[in-house]
Amino acid sequence: MTDEERPPTPAELREAELLARALEEPSQPGRELTSVDDALGAAYLLRASKQAELGELRARAVRQRIWRTGTWPLWARAAAAALAGIGAAAVILAVRPRGPARLPPPEVRLLQAQLAAARPGSSAELAQLEVETAAYRERFYGALGRAYGRRP
């Protein structure tokens, strides 16, 4: 006689009856708590936790929503890198400490005008010094403009 042919034991019959009752009347209040209820509860919990778990597909979707790098085409990524490079270079050039400009040497005529103005005399010497200084100023500001990135 096999296990299947053997008649159910009283304990098995009792469990089967309780299982049937639990399935037919799952929410009936006040019924007896048994091992079947426990088993059903455990099964519900397992199924619920399985549903809440982050599956492979859901995880990939979440990753794509958070971090969209994969969606950029190659040219866009290259353009962004180039722009970042240009920007960084511009920032470095703009904030780097400037050295003193290499000022142009004074013209002989300016120095002669200074010598002439540095003695008692009329305002004619001062006028000549003014003319020569203006010419030097033009060159002087040109040198400053080159040193500081833009000709005034």
Binding site: A80, G87, A90, A94, P120, L129, F140, G145
Partner: protein, 154 residues
């Protein structure tokens, strides 16, 4: 992409409008406007314009030597404008302010000394004027020797 654009914007802003570049451009324009005003005979406004330039703070990005050169050139010009307006006391004040920035063997110091001498002479302080003339000539002669020998720079 956003980071790249921010970097480009910040760099462009700093590069185009850096304080040093702007200050030098403003100084250049102040002198150009003073040229026009002086030619039209408006010495007072020319003086005010240059006075405004020297009153502004110098941005940190300007090398000290360059700041000194720009300011001393402007003070020398202010002294000359004051002398032309018949105000030797103001000329002396401007020359002193320029020399207080430091003194090097250059054309700016030589000019300031020459204008200071002229101001002192106009104020009747001949002995002091003579000393200033002497100091101005010493600088100019040294620079002239350099220029004739090797075209020395600053």
């Amino acid at each position: 992409m956003r980071t790249a654009l921010i970097l480009v914007f910040v760099g462009a802003s700093l590069g185009c409008g850096s304080g040093a570049t702007r200050w030098i451009g403003e100084a250049w324009r102040a002198h150009a406007e003073a040229d026009i005003l002086e030619r039209s005979g408006d010495l007072e406004r020319a003086g005010d314009l240059l006075q405004d330039l020297v009153s502004r703070p110098v941005p940190a990005g300007v090398a000290p030597q360059d700041a000194r050169a720009v300011l001393q050139d402007t003070y020398a010009r202010l002294a000359n404008v004051a002398l032309k307006r018949g105000k030797p006391a103001d000329a002396l004040h401007s020359a002193d302010a320029g020399l207080q920035l430091g003194e090097a063997q250059d054309v700016f110091a030589s000019s300031l000394r020459a204008f200071r001498g002229r101001a002192l002479e106009a104020l009747g302080r001949d002995a002091e004027a003579a000393r200033e003339y002497e100091a101005a000539q010493a600088i100019a002669e040294a620079l002239l020797s350099e220029a004739l020998v090797d075209g020395g720079v600053r």
